[in-house]
């Protein structure tokens, strides 16, 4: 599988504004030394709890935030410092779908204008050709083309997410960063949108970086899954390996924390309940970032940061004890 996206040792730190004494508060290490690659027509699920840095990582891929260190490769080109035409080209090939379809569409633009805007901005179509393409895009996501002249408020949440997808597809991208695309939707709508995304992947040769906190959704749509904790990837593996045999204690706890919609099975399940909460990313604990909540931590974990190592073929984990 040829690489579409490659991330190497990527770090994104936010320094924050100087306080009244002229000093910077401690930097937020939102993404800290992340490495992975994403192949053609592949979906990489990126899971973790709020504040783990998964959205910042997604934003960095589109260069919506500036990396502090490391490298971003797109189709083999280093785009970490891309500017001008090179950056415009990147933003043609990489698109984004956001969580909240209510705020992702300009309420004052007709939806046809919103969907056509990327084409117009990149000078790819105008006039009748633009209208034609907008109609086709609406048809593609299952909405009647004549509704191009309506405003976003005339659509339901699920329909709005279809509009957002149509806009993301307008430039025929190769990679779409999906940031919690179904989290704001009701369960019945959620499955429609997931089906649509899976269908387009095959039809249009798309790669997805699929960011979500919902492991059931990620398991359904992803080929490989990366688990993030405090800005780092703690486990990365093919889907079935990760869910069948999680190596990192955090992954294990995450999986066991999801209640199964089956009372007989659920009430028999042994649940690992983690103590405490995510430490602040301004002051990550020394050693393994997870050791403060880890049920199996040993003294070594408090001192030495475990590296992400290939413990089994294709199965990476950052833990001193497992694997």
């Amino acid at each position: 599988m040829s690489e579409v996206l490659g991330i190497a040792n990527l770090a994104v730190h936010f320094r924050g504004r100087r306080n009244w004494r002229g000093r910077h508060p401690p930097a937020v290490r939102a993404v800290d030394g992340v490495t992975f690659s994403l192949g053609e027509r592949e979906t990489l699920g990126l899971v973790g709890e709020s504040g783990c840095g998964k959205s910042t990582l997604g934003n960095a891929v589109l260069r919506l935030v500036t990396p502090t260190a490391g490298q971003i490769r797109f189709e083999g080109r280093d785009v970490t410092g891309a500017t001008g035409e090179e950056l415009r080209a990147l933003r043609r090939d990489v698109q984004m779908i956001f969580q909240d379809p209510y705020s992702a569409l300009n309420p004052k633009l007709r939806v046809g204008e919103s969907i056509g805007e990327p084409l117009l901005a990149h000078g790819l179509a105008q006039g009748a050709a633009l209208r034609q393409q907008v109609s086709e895009l609406l048809g593609l996501v299952g909405l009647p083309p004549e509704r191009a002249s309506r405003y976003p408020h005339e659509f339901s949440g699920g329909q709005r997410q279809r509009l957002v997808i149509a806009r993301a597809l307008a430039l025929k991208p190769k990679l779409i960063v999906c940031d919690e695309p179904v989290s704001a939707l009701d369960v019945s709508i959620r499955s429609q949108i997931l089906n649509l995304l899976m269908e387009f992947q095959q039809k249009l040769n798309l790669s997805y970086l699929f960011i979500s906190h919902d492991l059931s959704v990620v398991r359904h749509i992803s080929h490989r899954v990366a688990v993030m904790y405090l800005g780092r990837i703690v486990e990365l593996a093919p889907r079935d390996n990760l869910f069948r045999e999680p190596l990192h204690p955090y992954t294990e706890a995450l999986i066991s924390a999801i209640p199964l919609p089956d009372p007989v099975a659920q009430r028999k399940r042994a649940r690992i309940i983690l103590k405490g909460e995510l430490p602040k990313p301004t002051a990550p604990p020394p050693g393994c970032p997870f050791h403060t909540r880890c049920p199996i931590a040993i003294p070594k974990c408090r001192e030495i940061v475990p590296l992400l190592e290939e413990k089994r073929p294709g199965h990476w984990a950052a833990c001193h004890l497992r694997g």
């Binding site: 699920g158 009701d186 959620r190 997931l194 906190h213 359904h220 924390a257 209640p259 199964l260 009372p263």
Partner: protein
């Protein structure tokens, strides 16, 4: 269920303008029972909870219904009467823990207020009691937390504070409106465990409002499924998951990706969307989205009637056929 339920609700109706968002809803909650109310957004589950607490938003009003809580007729009480009851006999915890606490009051001040409303304690004693409460909900450094403001705490911690406040008066009924929806899964697991524990200690009944069938499977004894303002199915949790008797319940259960399904396959979908309140036509409200709908469903609305097993009800003309495969 015990002979006399703790709470019984009959024909509860809540209107916003001309539209009934809760439409002739009747159910009962037994002592120490956990009853889950499930459904999609806009189905009326939160409005039902707010109506029970008499905390409806300004635009909504209760137009019909009897609410009996351990012999007290809540529908006859005025605001002063309800105020005496809230926190003592019944409490509610909300979805957005950070928004539900007063941002300008310390955690301690809020808890003291809740405690003094129903118990004759001076400030010092109430503060001590508040500290004990925080400890029971698993908050470490309780003394420090009492002096902090909600913005200084995480979402999970605020939810614990809210639970501490809600349970301060040892109510016999706790209403939890999507208590973990805004929280991360590991924190959700902690909070659900906490609700189970505290409930076991106090012996309270719980009405749990959620859209997450996993949470229902984990917590509920009994389940009410709501759709477009009506209860469409009611059953014991085990029976409901074993075989739903309403096509909407069946669709809700099937359309969610599960940790044990086959990845990458097309998920079953429910076409269309929930009708807006008041916009539904004659017949069953789910008919336009229902894969099993027949002629009759478009003309006559089915009542919530018993299905063979005891205490099980479904509002579907084809209740005997649903889930038979």
């Amino acid at each position: 269920m015990t002979a006399t339920p703790l709470l019984s609700v009959e024909n509860l109706t809540v209107m916003i303008g001309d539209a009934a968002v809760v439409d002739q809803v009747s159910f009962a909650v037994g002592r120490s029972q956990v009853v889950a109310i499930v459904g999609e957004s806009g189905c009326g589950k939160s409005m039902t909870a707010f109506a029970l607490m008499d905390l409806l938003p300004a635009a909504a009003r209760r137009t019909d219904g009897r609410i009996d809580l351990a012999g007290q007729q809540l529908h006859e009480l005025d605001e002063a009467g309800m105020q005496k009851l809230r926190g003592k006999d019944m409490s509610i915890i909300f979805q957005e823990p950070v928004a539900a606490l007063d941002p300008l009051m310390t955690v301690g001040a809020q808890l003291v207020e809740a405690i003094q409303a129903h118990q004759d304690l001076d400030k010092q004693a109430a503060l001590f009691h508040a500290q004990k409460l925080l400890e029971t909900v698993g908050i470490t450094d309780a003394q420090l937390r009492l002096k902090q403001y909600p913005f200084e705490l995480s979402g999970g911690m605020c939810q614990r504070v809210m639970i501490a406040g809600a349970l301060a008066g040892q109510p016999s009924l706790l209403i939890a409106d999507e208590p973990t929806t805004a929280l991360d899964v590991t924190i959700q697991a902690q909070i659900l465990e906490l609700i189970k524990q505290r409930r076991a200690e106090i012996g309270a009944s719980v009405i749990l409002i959620t859209h997450d069938m996993g949470v229902v499977a984990d917590m509920a004894d009994r389940v009410l499924v709501m759709y477009a303002g009506r209860i469409v199915e009611e059953a014991d949790a085990l029976d409901l998951f074993a075989r739903p008797r309403h096509p909407y319940t069946e669709a809700l259960l099937k359309s969610v990706p599960r940790l044990d399904d086959v990845p990458g396959t097309r998920l079953p979908v429910i076409e269309g969307a929930v009708p807006r309140p008041g916009s539904h036509k004659a017949g069953c409200r789910f008919a336009s989205r229902c894969p099993m709908a027949i002629e009759r469903c478009l003309k006559e609305e089915p009542g919530l009637l018993p299905v063979e097993s005891s205490g099980r009800r479904s509002a579907c003309w084809r209740r005997d056929e649903v889930g038979a495969s």
